[in-house]
Amino acid sequence: MFVTRQVEFSASHVCRLPDVSDAENRELFGRESSPNGHGHNYVLEVTVEGEPDPVTGMVINLKKLKDILQEQVVGPMDHRFLNAEVKPFDGIVPTTENLARNLWERLAPLLDTAETSLHRIRLFETPDLYVDITRDGAQ
Protein backbone atom coordinates (compact mmCIF):
# COMPACT_ATOMS: atom_id res chain seq x y z
CA MET A 1 0.00 0.00 0.00
CA PHE A 2 1.18 3.51 -0.83
CA VAL A 3 0.83 6.72 1.15
CA THR A 4 1.63 10.05 -0.51
CA ARG A 5 2.22 13.35 1.19
CA GLN A 6 2.77 16.68 -0.55
CA VAL A 7 4.94 19.54 0.57
CA GLU A 8 5.74 22.88 -1.02
CA PHE A 9 8.81 25.06 -0.89
CA SER A 10 9.80 28.18 -2.78
CA ALA A 11 13.40 28.65 -3.82
CA SER A 12 15.56 30.39 -6.39
CA HIS A 13 18.25 28.88 -8.56
CA VAL A 14 20.25 29.34 -11.71
CA CYS A 15 21.29 26.58 -14.11
CA ARG A 16 24.68 27.39 -15.62
CA LEU A 17 27.98 25.66 -16.24
CA PRO A 18 30.92 27.85 -15.20
CA ASP A 19 33.21 26.63 -17.97
CA VAL A 20 31.07 27.40 -21.01
CA SER A 21 29.96 30.63 -22.67
CA ASP A 22 26.69 32.47 -22.08
CA ALA A 23 25.50 31.31 -25.48
CA GLU A 24 26.24 27.67 -24.67
CA ASN A 25 24.52 27.97 -21.30
CA ARG A 26 21.52 29.46 -23.06
CA GLU A 27 21.54 26.59 -25.54
CA LEU A 28 21.73 24.00 -22.73
CA PHE A 29 19.42 25.48 -20.13
CA GLY A 30 17.33 28.15 -21.90
CA ARG A 31 15.93 30.83 -19.59
CA GLU A 32 16.93 28.69 -16.60
CA SER A 33 20.45 30.02 -17.24
CA SER A 34 19.50 33.67 -16.66
CA PRO A 35 22.59 34.86 -14.72
CA ASN A 36 20.97 36.43 -11.67
CA GLY A 37 18.69 33.49 -10.98
CA HIS A 38 14.94 33.08 -10.72
CA GLY A 39 12.52 31.17 -8.51
CA HIS A 40 9.90 28.45 -8.46
CA ASN A 41 7.18 27.21 -6.16
CA TYR A 42 8.36 23.62 -6.01
CA VAL A 43 5.85 20.94 -5.06
CA LEU A 44 7.20 17.62 -3.80
CA GLU A 45 5.09 14.49 -3.55
CA VAL A 46 6.59 11.71 -1.44
CA THR A 47 5.16 8.19 -1.75
CA VAL A 48 5.95 5.66 0.95
CA GLU A 49 5.22 1.95 0.60
CA GLY A 50 4.33 -0.38 3.42
CA GLU A 51 1.55 -2.36 5.04
CA PRO A 52 -0.81 -0.87 7.65
CA ASP A 53 0.33 -1.67 11.15
CA PRO A 54 -2.18 -4.08 12.75
CA VAL A 55 -2.35 -1.98 15.91
CA THR A 56 -2.37 1.59 14.54
CA GLY A 57 -3.86 0.95 11.09
CA MET A 58 -1.19 3.21 9.59
CA VAL A 59 1.53 2.56 7.00
CA ILE A 60 3.48 5.47 8.44
CA ASN A 61 2.65 8.05 11.05
CA LEU A 62 1.93 11.15 8.94
CA LYS A 63 3.17 13.39 11.74
CA LYS A 64 6.53 11.62 11.50
CA LEU A 65 6.53 12.01 7.70
CA LYS A 66 5.60 15.68 8.04
CA ASP A 67 8.45 16.23 10.50
CA ILE A 68 10.96 14.49 8.18
CA LEU A 69 9.86 16.64 5.23
CA GLN A 70 10.09 19.79 7.32
CA GLU A 71 13.57 18.89 8.57
CA GLN A 72 15.03 17.62 5.27
CA VAL A 73 13.23 19.73 2.66
CA VAL A 74 11.34 22.81 3.82
CA GLY A 75 13.80 23.81 6.52
CA PRO A 76 16.94 23.77 4.38
CA MET A 77 15.37 24.85 1.05
CA ASP A 78 12.33 27.08 1.53
CA HIS A 79 13.07 30.70 0.60
CA ARG A 80 16.69 29.91 -0.17
CA PHE A 81 18.95 30.46 -3.16
CA LEU A 82 19.85 26.86 -3.87
CA ASN A 83 23.18 27.53 -5.62
CA ALA A 84 24.60 29.54 -2.71
CA GLU A 85 22.84 28.19 0.34
CA VAL A 86 22.12 24.48 -0.15
CA LYS A 87 24.82 21.89 -0.69
CA PRO A 88 25.69 20.22 -3.06
CA PHE A 89 24.38 22.90 -5.43
CA ASP A 90 27.46 25.03 -4.93
CA GLY A 91 29.15 22.35 -7.05
CA ILE A 92 26.46 20.78 -9.25
CA VAL A 93 23.76 22.37 -11.37
CA PRO A 94 20.41 22.58 -9.53
CA THR A 95 18.32 21.22 -12.38
CA THR A 96 15.02 19.64 -11.40
CA GLU A 97 16.62 16.25 -12.07
CA ASN A 98 19.53 16.93 -9.70
CA LEU A 99 17.28 18.48 -7.08
CA ALA A 100 15.03 15.40 -7.19
CA ARG A 101 18.06 13.11 -6.81
CA ASN A 102 19.26 15.12 -3.83
CA LEU A 103 15.83 14.97 -2.23
CA TRP A 104 15.80 11.18 -2.73
CA GLU A 105 19.20 10.91 -1.06
CA ARG A 106 17.98 13.00 1.87
CA LEU A 107 14.72 11.09 2.35
CA ALA A 108 15.49 7.45 1.51
CA PRO A 109 17.72 6.78 4.54
CA LEU A 110 14.95 8.03 6.84
CA LEU A 111 12.02 6.33 5.13
CA ASP A 112 13.63 2.98 4.31
CA THR A 113 12.91 1.19 7.58
CA ALA A 114 11.82 -2.26 8.65
CA GLU A 115 8.21 -1.17 8.06
CA THR A 116 8.37 1.21 5.11
CA SER A 117 10.32 2.10 2.00
CA LEU A 118 10.48 5.22 -0.14
CA HIS A 119 8.69 4.23 -3.34
CA ARG A 120 8.62 7.40 -5.41
CA ILE A 121 9.20 11.13 -5.27
CA ARG A 122 7.65 13.52 -7.77
CA LEU A 123 9.10 17.03 -7.88
CA PHE A 124 7.14 19.70 -9.74
CA GLU A 125 9.22 22.68 -10.80
CA THR A 126 6.07 24.15 -12.35
CA PRO A 127 2.61 22.61 -12.83
CA ASP A 128 3.75 21.67 -16.37
CA LEU A 129 7.13 20.11 -15.58
CA TYR A 130 7.97 17.40 -13.09
CA VAL A 131 10.59 14.74 -12.41
CA ASP A 132 9.82 11.31 -10.97
CA ILE A 133 12.30 9.09 -9.22
CA THR A 134 10.97 5.59 -8.58
CA ARG A 135 12.69 2.90 -6.58
CA ASP A 136 14.63 0.63 -8.92
CA GLY A 137 12.71 -2.51 -9.70
CA ALA A 138 9.37 -1.10 -8.51
CA GLN A 139 6.28 -1.87 -10.59
Partner: protein, 158 residues
Protein backbone atom coordinates in the same frame (compact mmCIF):
# COMPACT_ATOMS: atom_id res chain seq x y z
CA UNK B 1 14.41 5.07 -12.38
CA UNK B 2 14.22 8.75 -13.27
CA UNK B 3 11.71 10.32 -15.63
CA UNK B 4 10.79 13.83 -16.72
CA UNK B 5 7.20 14.71 -17.57
CA UNK B 6 6.21 17.79 -19.51
CA UNK B 7 2.61 18.92 -19.81
CA UNK B 8 1.15 20.68 -22.86
CA UNK B 9 -2.22 22.17 -23.64
CA UNK B 10 -4.16 22.34 -26.87
CA UNK B 11 -7.74 23.14 -27.76
CA UNK B 12 -9.40 21.46 -30.72
CA UNK B 13 -12.75 20.33 -32.03
CA UNK B 14 -13.77 16.93 -33.29
CA UNK B 15 -16.72 14.76 -34.18
CA UNK B 16 -16.97 11.05 -33.50
CA UNK B 17 -18.72 9.41 -36.43
CA UNK B 18 -18.07 6.09 -38.12
CA UNK B 19 -18.89 5.99 -41.87
CA UNK B 20 -19.51 2.25 -41.60
CA UNK B 21 -22.44 2.76 -39.25
CA UNK B 22 -25.87 4.29 -39.82
CA UNK B 23 -26.78 7.69 -38.41
CA UNK B 24 -28.92 5.97 -35.79
CA UNK B 25 -26.10 3.61 -34.81
CA UNK B 26 -23.60 6.49 -34.66
CA UNK B 27 -25.93 8.50 -32.44
CA UNK B 28 -26.39 5.51 -30.16
CA UNK B 29 -22.68 4.70 -30.02
CA UNK B 30 -21.13 8.15 -29.68
CA UNK B 31 -24.01 10.08 -28.08
CA UNK B 32 -23.35 13.81 -27.83
CA UNK B 33 -19.93 13.34 -29.43
CA UNK B 34 -21.74 12.50 -32.70
CA UNK B 35 -23.21 16.03 -33.04
CA UNK B 36 -22.86 16.80 -36.80
CA UNK B 37 -21.37 20.22 -36.06
CA UNK B 38 -18.65 18.81 -33.82
CA UNK B 39 -17.59 20.11 -30.44
CA UNK B 40 -14.34 20.98 -28.69
CA UNK B 41 -12.11 20.22 -25.72
CA UNK B 42 -9.17 21.71 -23.87
CA UNK B 43 -6.86 18.73 -24.09
CA UNK B 44 -3.99 18.32 -21.62
CA UNK B 45 -1.15 16.25 -23.02
CA UNK B 46 1.60 14.84 -20.77
CA UNK B 47 4.76 13.40 -22.31
CA UNK B 48 7.09 11.35 -20.10
CA UNK B 49 10.72 10.77 -21.00
CA UNK B 50 13.16 8.35 -19.34
CA UNK B 51 16.88 7.92 -19.60
CA UNK B 52 20.04 8.74 -17.77
CA UNK B 53 20.93 12.09 -16.27
CA UNK B 54 23.94 13.71 -17.95
CA UNK B 55 26.34 14.15 -15.03
CA UNK B 56 27.88 17.30 -16.49
CA UNK B 57 24.66 19.24 -17.07
CA UNK B 58 22.33 17.55 -14.60
CA UNK B 59 19.77 17.19 -17.38
CA UNK B 60 17.97 14.03 -18.44
CA UNK B 61 16.40 15.75 -21.44
CA UNK B 62 16.56 19.17 -23.00
CA UNK B 63 13.10 20.53 -22.27
CA UNK B 64 13.69 23.12 -24.99
CA UNK B 65 14.22 20.42 -27.59
CA UNK B 66 11.27 18.41 -26.30
CA UNK B 67 9.13 21.54 -26.50
CA UNK B 68 10.36 22.19 -30.05
CA UNK B 69 9.40 18.64 -31.08
CA UNK B 70 5.96 18.97 -29.55
CA UNK B 71 5.30 22.40 -31.00
CA UNK B 72 6.60 21.60 -34.48
CA UNK B 73 5.05 18.18 -34.91
CA UNK B 74 1.93 18.17 -32.74
CA UNK B 75 0.71 21.40 -31.17
CA UNK B 76 1.10 23.69 -34.18
CA UNK B 77 -1.04 21.33 -36.24
CA UNK B 78 -3.59 20.39 -33.56
CA UNK B 79 -4.14 23.62 -31.65
CA UNK B 80 -7.35 25.48 -32.49
CA UNK B 81 -8.15 23.11 -35.34
CA UNK B 82 -10.94 20.82 -36.35
CA UNK B 83 -9.18 17.48 -36.04
CA UNK B 84 -11.50 15.73 -38.52
CA UNK B 85 -10.97 18.22 -41.32
CA UNK B 86 -7.64 19.94 -40.55
CA UNK B 87 -5.37 17.04 -39.52
CA UNK B 88 -4.76 14.54 -42.30
CA UNK B 89 -4.20 11.64 -39.87
CA UNK B 90 -7.92 11.73 -39.07
CA UNK B 91 -9.26 11.74 -42.62
CA UNK B 92 -9.95 8.01 -42.30
CA UNK B 93 -9.46 7.64 -38.56
CA UNK B 94 -12.05 8.60 -35.95
CA UNK B 95 -10.48 11.23 -33.65
CA UNK B 96 -11.33 9.50 -30.41
CA UNK B 97 -8.85 10.39 -27.72
CA UNK B 98 -7.45 6.85 -27.98
CA UNK B 99 -6.62 7.53 -31.62
CA UNK B 100 -5.35 11.06 -30.89
CA UNK B 101 -2.95 9.59 -28.31
CA UNK B 102 -1.76 6.95 -30.80
CA UNK B 103 -1.24 9.55 -33.55
CA UNK B 104 0.73 11.79 -31.19
CA UNK B 105 2.85 8.87 -29.97
CA UNK B 106 3.56 7.91 -33.58
CA UNK B 107 4.60 11.45 -34.52
CA UNK B 108 6.88 11.71 -31.49
CA UNK B 109 8.56 8.41 -32.31
CA UNK B 110 8.97 9.33 -35.97
CA UNK B 111 10.78 12.58 -35.21
CA UNK B 112 12.38 11.62 -31.86
CA UNK B 113 15.92 11.13 -33.15
CA UNK B 114 15.74 14.34 -35.19
CA UNK B 115 15.04 16.46 -32.10
CA UNK B 116 16.49 14.46 -29.21
CA UNK B 117 19.35 12.12 -28.59
CA UNK B 118 17.39 8.92 -29.17
CA UNK B 119 20.15 6.71 -27.84
CA UNK B 120 20.06 8.29 -24.41
CA UNK B 121 16.47 9.40 -23.81
CA UNK B 122 13.35 7.39 -24.49
CA UNK B 123 9.69 8.20 -24.85
CA UNK B 124 8.00 6.36 -22.01
CA UNK B 125 4.41 7.57 -21.88
CA UNK B 126 1.83 9.72 -23.63
CA UNK B 127 -1.15 10.71 -21.52
CA UNK B 128 -4.10 12.85 -22.59
CA UNK B 129 -6.92 14.32 -20.58
CA UNK B 130 -9.86 15.05 -22.87
CA UNK B 131 -11.75 16.49 -19.92
CA UNK B 132 -10.92 16.44 -16.24
CA UNK B 133 -12.76 13.12 -16.02
CA UNK B 134 -11.44 11.22 -19.04
CA UNK B 135 -7.78 10.21 -19.28
CA UNK B 136 -6.07 8.09 -21.93
CA UNK B 137 -2.56 6.73 -21.64
CA UNK B 138 -0.11 4.91 -23.87
CA UNK B 139 2.91 3.36 -22.15
CA UNK B 140 5.86 2.49 -24.36
CA UNK B 141 7.97 -0.59 -24.01
CA UNK B 142 11.63 -0.13 -24.83
CA UNK B 143 12.32 -2.76 -27.49
CA UNK B 144 16.00 -2.54 -26.61
CA UNK B 145 18.11 -0.06 -24.75
CA UNK B 146 19.21 1.74 -27.87
CA UNK B 147 16.28 1.12 -30.19
CA UNK B 148 13.11 3.00 -30.77
CA UNK B 149 10.29 2.34 -28.36
CA UNK B 150 7.23 0.48 -29.47
CA UNK B 151 3.73 0.95 -28.29
CA UNK B 152 2.74 -1.33 -25.46
CA UNK B 153 -0.88 -0.59 -24.86
CA UNK B 154 -3.58 1.92 -24.22
CA UNK B 155 -5.10 2.22 -20.80
CA UNK B 156 -8.17 4.27 -20.20
CA UNK B 157 -9.26 5.58 -16.87
CA UNK B 158 -12.30 7.62 -16.07
Amino acid sequence: MVSVTRRYHFSASHRLHSPSLSDTENAALFGKCNNPFGHGHNYILSVTVTGEIDERTGLLVSVRKLDALLHDKVLNQFSHCNLNTDVADFTDLIPTTENIAAVIAGRLQKFWAQYLNGRRVHLQRVHILETKKNGFEIVMRAAAATKECEQEGVSIHA
